[in-house]
Symmetry: C2
Subunit: 188 residues, 2 copies
């Protein structure tokens, strides 16, 4: 079958690109290196993707999907507990160095902020804002515009994850700080 060979090539390119981008960053990895690792040539890459940026976009999609899956899987229990667990799962996921650089460092720079936000909107931020409005409806959070709060919390978790990359010993303290931050917002 021709289509499955194509898909195998595509997945190999995405996988190798993701590995290399995560390790050394978008700018420091050449296409030749990616194609060599995937066992194809530049022709194959350009047959599958519109260019280096398009390849990165595909990699970022995969990363986003993975994070969303992890967060959804972790969010269980009563509404408030599920919310906190989801946030903690997000922190854990974005602490993973294999995801971090692609998602939080190179993502905005390569795609530009506008497109990066569109990705984020479709996954993390969307779920977070949904969760926040849900908690407000249940009376667990004071009613207020959800969008700004979504950004504040999303940014807090992103930055905390990045900081943890250089300060891994602070993981427990950061988890606690995040929980306390969320609890302090809760209706009492």
């Amino acid at each position: 079958m021709r289509a499955e060979q194509k898909e195998r090539t595509r997945l190999a390119l995405i996988a190798e690109a993701r590995r290399l981008f995560a390790a050394r960053g978008y700018a420091d990895v050449g296409l030749s290196e990616i194609t060599a690792a995937a066992g194809v040539t530049k022709g194959a890459l350009y047959h599958q993707f519109d260019g280096k940026v398009a390849l990165f976009r595909a990699v970022l999609e995969a990363v986003h999907r993975e994070i969303a899956d992890r967060v959804v899987a972790a969010a269980e229990g009563d509404p408030w507990a599920a919310f906190v667990a989801g946030c903690q799962a997000f922190l854990t996921a974005t602490t993973d160095p294999a995801l971090q650089r692609i998602l939080l460092v190179d993502g905005p720079a390569v795609l530009g902020w506008a497109e990066w936000r569109a990705f984020d909107e479709a996954t993390s931020a969307f779920h977070l804002e949904e969760a926040l409005t849900g908690l407000m409806r249940l009376g667990l959070l004071p009613e207020r515009p959800a969008a700004p709060l979504t950004r504040l919390l999303s940014g807090a978790m992103n930055e905390a994850a990045l900081w943890l990359a250089t300060e891994p010993s602070a993981l427990d303290d950061t988890r606690r700080a995040l929980t306390e931050l969320l609890e302090s917002l809760r209706c009492r």
Copy 2:
């Protein structure tokens, strides 16, 4: 005087680079464009800086200094009011599109997260953490490790600023949300 001509060249390069980086991003601006705008050639640039990254570093330093100045200037009143005013000033400063892309988007990607944090540590994060520990000593904030909280708040403000770039109408709501977030942390 020869030294002042050198300084003029240097400042012109930094100014033009800053303008172009802010408008279109680090990767999309070539050295030829910068040098042309500054009225010199690539030889002059390489005489003053070690390369494109070093030039960006000088630009980022200027941006950091400017933000720190604005924040310090805004932080006045009693300790808690000064703290909130400083945070709001930071949000305002990083909402400025001329600073935003350089500081928050390209900065981490170009310098790598480690070096970017070193810059941030020397200015924003340093002041923020200092302010937080000061507030704890005064009993205005519950005692807790300041470093993780610093990161959470710093990230919250950064992300909020970036979000505001695409949603300027939410400025007031975001200011309120930030104030409420800070107030919710306060000892009562």
